[in-house]
């Protein structure tokens, strides 16, 4: 067995394995570069397409039949739907997250309930958004006889995004060290007091990040809204009009107050789809490009916002 000990130079000719390794390294770097390039191109594409279209007048102006006009009604609806949805989804999601993080048992009969909840969480996440939209159609529009309403859309969006909000909240709460809970419980605080005054405050950075990420998804969603909040033509909104606040379902769906949750509400994303599927106007492309650019801009804001807010809050809480 001395043959194998013959001195061999370490400076070996490049073997096939080493060539393959170099090639693979180049390919893997190339993959990453490709994805970055693609994203860069997309953002640049919309920046160029929106050049000369998107302006404050475009975002905050009323639509027009003869000129390019603005998209303010649909932009307002996007914001309005977002607020309405988050108003329902955030509390329910955080409360659900509290249950999953602080109370859920993994064993026994309650363990079965926990796994049923987890299964439901995964199931809703995997149901196509269009099917969730149809569910909203049959439940809110038809069964409840609301017609197409912002409220129905917001409920449909809520149930579609509840799993995400719940899971992100659960993760944020689970990230709070166990020691903090024990310290509080050892001082004689009840479980709820501990959650309320110790765990929740410490989880705020994670919760805020979760809220912003969920908001980003809600803001861009369209398929859920097609058949729940409706697809309409943007009209001028009169913000002094408060018609439709008697919760009067019988007066029909044509409430005209932009504040009313019982009116149809076409959002930016639904508007892009509408322009494509039935839009005939001369400015169809500019309107869609401009709307898409606004959506991408909002996505960037939501993403950077989630990061920045998360960082700032973490620093504040850990420094305090």
């Amino acid at each position: 067995m001395t043959a194998n000990h013959s001195p061999a130079s370490l400076h070996r000719r490049t073997s096939r394995a080493i060539v393959a390794d170099r090639a693979a390294t180049i390919v893997l770097w190339g993959t990453a570069a490709f994805v970055l390039l693609l994203l860069g191109t997309i953002i640049l594409h919309f920046a160029l397409a929106a050049w000369g279209v998107v302006s404050l007048g475009f975002i905050f102006g009323d639509p027009s039949d003869t000129a390019l006009g603005g998209v303010f009604p649909v932009f307002w609806n996007s914001i309005y739907m977002l607020a309405l949805t988050m108003l329902i989804a955030v509390p329910v999601g955080i409360l659900g997250g509290i249950y999953m993080s602080e109370y859920a048992r993994e064993t026994g009969p309650l363990g079965l309930v926990t796994s049923a909840i987890r299964f439901a969480e995964e199931a809703i996440s995997s149901v196509p958004s269009i099917v969730v939209g149809l569910f909203g159609l049959i439940l809110f529009v038809d069964t409840f006889r609301w017609g197409f309403t912002a409220l129905g859309g917001a409920f449909a969006l809520t149930l579609f995004n509840l799993p995400l909000m719940t899971r992100l909240s659960e993760q944020a709460l689970r990230a709070v060290p166990q020691d903090e809970r024990q310290a509080s419980l050892a001082l004689g605080a009840t479980k709820w007091q501990t959650i309320r005054h110790v765990v929740l405050p410490l989880a705020i950075p994670g919760l805020v990040t979760g809220v912003i990420l969920t908001a980003g998804r809600v803001f861009g969603e369209a398929a859920v809204l097609l058949f729940t909040a409706g697809i309409g033509t943007p009209v001028h909104y009169d913000f002094a009009n408060f018609n439709g606040f008697g919760l009067d379902f019988n007066s029909g769906w044509w409430h005209t107050s932009p504040w009313s949750p019982l009116r149809p509400a076409t959002t930016l994303s639904v508007y892009i789809w509408k322009l494509n599927s039935e839009g005939l106007g001369a400015f169809k492309n500019q309107l869609a490009d401009g709307s898409a650019a606004i959506l991408i801009g909002m996505v960037l804001i939501f993403n950077l916002g989630a990061r920045a807010v998360g960082r700032v809050l973490t620093r504040k809480l850990t420094a305090a």
Partner: protein
């Protein structure tokens, strides 16, 4: 001192509380919030199933209709064969997975094994922005850039002038650009972040000792990725692919905008096809509640619902059978 702890003294540790006070209100509230998701799933299944079976129960079509290739809702005896839509969904999804899986797993391997910190801190936020781009924006982008590009570049028959290969590839060229390929390409970009991030997590979960063990035997990094990490991360990668598949099969608007929506069986990747989601999107608003045409759309949504629940079960099976290595 022992006398003080007499048995007849009331315990100070057992606080007398009424029955009502013993009910843990916060727990009930948070439980209801979490359990609401079970209620949502049950309602969703009930409502969609009920609507979905009307085509068979009320309109008298046989369940075999699901697999019939003829879709003609305007004929004298309307035909509601769902096969073109199911097949379309399957092939468009398969195309997207074929394009996206190698790219995504490669990107995950890059992030986990190759990327220096600075590169990771650039690519990861980029992926998050990818996830955030709404599907209508992808559709609009595909419609205004990809579809014209395909049509301009590859119009006419795609005949390759080689003897044998030419025959195989002599498929019709893009007439308009609206096609199976356009749908698969748009979807592949949309599911890229999903497959990448789940695969990335499963690469990270492979114990460090396996990497050092392999490298210490004088193997290259690529050999270690190829022969140790990918096999060890396989259940996670499969999960990632199933999740990507679910997302692709359920995507509605982006696909609808670029595939051309022709309710026939898929013939070539250069030709228009249709999917379950895009037909629902197109027709739902143009049909009347209760007519067979709309009932057929509800049956499509039931098929989608069944597919998505099946994928959740599949993911669970993959992860349960994660072999004790």
């Amino acid at each position: 001192m022992a006398r003080l702890i007499a048995a007849d003294r009331p315990s100070t540790l057992k606080v007398e509380t009424g029955r009502l006070a013993r009910i843990d209100v916060p727990m009930i509230v948070v439980f209801m919030a979490a359990a609401s998701m079970i209620a949502i799933v049950v309602l969703l299944l009930l409502f969609i199933s009920w609507q979905g079976i009307q085509l068979f129960v009320k309109d008298g079509y046989s369940p075999g209709t699901i697999l019939s290739p003829t879709w003609d809702p305007l004929a004298n005896t309307p035909a509601f064969g769902l096969l073109p839509f199911i097949a379309g969904t399957l092939v468009v999804t398969a195309g997207a997975l074929l394009i996206s899986t190698p790219l995504s797993v490669g990107l995950a391997a890059f992030l986990s094994e190759v990327a220096p910190n600075w590169a990771r801190s650039v690519v990861q936020p980029a992926l998050e922005i990818f996830v955030g781009i709404p599907s209508v924006v992808w559709g609009w982008l595909g419609l205004t850039t990809l579809v014209p590009f395909l049509s301009d570049t590859f119009s006419g028959p795609l005949v390759v002038s080689l003897p044998v290969v030419g025959k195989v590839f002599s498929m019709p060229g893009f007439l308009t650009g609206f096609s199976w390929l356009a749908g698969s390409l748009v979807l592949s970009v949309m599911i890229l972040p999903t497959i990448t991030s789940v695969s990335y997590d499963s690469f990270r979960a492979v114990p460090q000792e396996l990497r050092t063990g392999s490298l210490a035997l004088g193997t290259t990094r690529w050999q270690t990725i190829r022969h140790i990490l990918i096999p060890a991360a396989l259940p996670g990668i499969l999960t990632a692919v199933v999740l990507g598949m679910t997302r692709a099969a359920g995507e509605a608007l982006a696909v609808q905008m670029v595939i051309g929506n022709s309710p026939t069986l898929p013939a070539a990747i250069t030709q228009p096809v249709t999917t379950l989601t895009s037909q629902i999107t197109l027709d739902m608003g143009n049909t009347v509640f209760g007519e067979p045409w709309q009932d057929a759309l509800w049956t499509m949504s039931l098929v989608l619902l069944v597919l998505s629940i099946a994928s959740v079960v599949l993911v669970r099976l993959i992860n349960k059978r994660r072999m004790p290595l």
